[in-house]
């Protein structure tokens, strides 16, 4: 039988009350008692029964995901994953919800964060670009005891907050390696498309991409980033113009999470198959693109994994535990038609 707190008390030659004081960091315990208890824990291999703890505390966790209002398929996927997790975690006394806010307005984001009630939420996961205002608001949030996770964005990592997501520099580098090797020695230009280059994510990906192309594939030339601003017509027009002017484009790299908008625009003008097309994030569009070979590779971060990871981290922090690092690292996945 596995030792209980009572066994611990007996083995330590102390009362259950003192053991309780040590285990739960209550005041009025001598250093000697603390040491004795901890030694005995090691000695007899005592482990708190988490079910009993949870039951006795009868505490529940309320976490909120703050996601952008605008976004296409990947955002939808993300929301879907949170809903999934919501259903699963409900049993474990974890209440989740999603609120969408205009993340591109730092002022509004900061205002929203400042209005979060610490009696209503134990943790917030925010997907928004960073800015000084937002950073300050996050700091105040944390001071009020609300656990915070930077979710898939804002990689200027705050020392006080946890981050869930990939290394975007490495993600861009990975895309570049695929492009470079898939193109196959041919010289030519690489067309790079982003929704916007304002965000740190885009900048880092582009930086990682250029870095690898320039050092390992000097026969390829990266064109300046095209920004779509999420506008389909605009995207179609600009891409058409650029492809007309640059007949030697051999590859397209879409570094935003929204591949649909630029690629549908480009496909209207030219056949994508001869080009090496690499995009980010698995969506119904990118999946079908892989299947019918309009897209050669997808660089992805599993949204379900990201959501679960954010939840695990907030829960661990709420329990004043360290998160388990290993399981919570988000991998940069490379998806081909063959390993979908």
């Amino acid at each position: 039988m596995r030792p209980t707190a009572k066994d611990l008390a007996e083995a330590a030659g102390l009362s259950l009350a003192t053991v309780d004081r040590v285990l739960n960091d209550r005041p009025n315990v001598s250093q000697k008692a603390v040491r004795k208890v901890n030694e005995t824990i090691e000695k007899i291999g005592f482990i708190r029964n988490p079910a009993a703890v949870s039951l006795a505390r009868n505490k529940s966790y309320r976490f909120r995901f703050l996601l952008p209002t605008t976004g296409d398929l990947y955002l939808a996927e993300l929301i879907h994953r949170v809903e999934d997790a919501r259903a699963v975690m409900k049993g474990d006394l974890i209440d989740l919800d999603v609120v969408q806010i205009p993340v591109d307005d730092p002022h509004k984001v900061a205002k929203y964060l400042s209005e979060v009630d610490e009696n209503e939420f134990d943790g917030i996961a925010l997907m928004a670009p960073e800015s000084p205002q937002v950073r300050d608001a996050i700091g105040r949030l944390i001071e009020r005891g609300i656990k915070f996770v930077q979710f898939l964005s804002g990689q200027e990592k705050l020392p006080t907050a946890d981050f869930v997501g990939v290394d975007n520099f490495a993600a861009g580098a990975t895309a570049a390696k695929i492009v470079g090797r898939f193109v196959g020695g041919k010289a030519g230009k690489v067309l790079i498309v982003a929704e916007t280059m304002q965000s740190l994510d885009s900048i880092q990906r582009r930086f990682g991409f250029d870095n690898v192309i320039n050092s390992q594939f000097p026969h390829l030339q990266c064109l300046p980033s095209v920004e779509t601003y999420g506008d389909e017509r605009r995207a179609a027009q600009i891409l058409r113009r650029i492809l007309e002017r640059n007949q030697d484009v051999v590859s397209i790299y879409v570094l935003s999470s929204e591949a649909r908008i630029p690629l549908e625009g480009a496909a209207a003008y030219t056949d994508l198959r001869p080009l090496t097309v690499v995009v980010h994030e698995r969506t119904p569009f990118s999946e079908s693109g892989l299947r019918d070979e309009h897209i050669d590779a997808v660089i992805a971060q599993d949204p379900g994994h990201a959501v679960r990871s954010a939840i695990r981290i907030m829960r661990a922090r709420a329990d004043a535990r360290e998160p388990h690092a290993g399981q919570d690292k988000i991998r940069i996945e490379v998806l081909l038609k063959e390993n979908l």
Copy 2:
């Protein structure tokens, strides 16, 4: 406040005893009562508090991983992951252990399985090739109420058992796609190395590999599989001979989990850098190979993920629940130098 079983009973107009009978599938309940309770569960959104269930049942789980005795770095990694999980899961009343057995002897495996005491273990995860004998032994194990997982091998999926691992056909196809596109249009031969071609895993990977090469990269020619039998000297000799005879080898594909043995042999004879080298499984060797560019890509399945997945499945089965499909699918990962 979230509804308890008592609330459920009141809302359903039944006693707690009857509600308990329904919730735990006890005998002597009318169909009417069952229906009424289930309806009320939906209506008030009752969810059993898993902590209370766990505490009241006070049940623990004992699972054993049966792994091969022989194996190199990947096996070591796997054992390490089980040990990690062991420490983490200990808190959740899950006892894990690892036993290594000679998996290539179906007779011994079957004998071992038949001797597993159902009072001592709730679940077994076995990493071993299939054979009729083993299959029968697994069947008897399951009949005795022990939950069983086919762990990273034996993909002739038993309808009665769960499987954790990748689709090896797809894994081979993925490797082929990488080889084909990385080679870059050059014609030549692909050297394929396995520890043994006896195992179903190897056969499926090879089949998937050939399939993609033949259909998409006809300018490449697959050589017959070389078997190392885990013997370094043998491997070095054979590979040297083959590479001497085939000066037009452009790529090496190692389809077993042990890349070290063949690649160290080949590297002794020739420089691997000009070749496109693709191997399976992330190990210290394959990682450093990626870093210094002796290896171009690694096709991997995360061992930590696989271990956790196997545990989750055994636990779900032991609780007579269905496992959560999504989280437990093992991805075929593509690792490059850039996304390690």
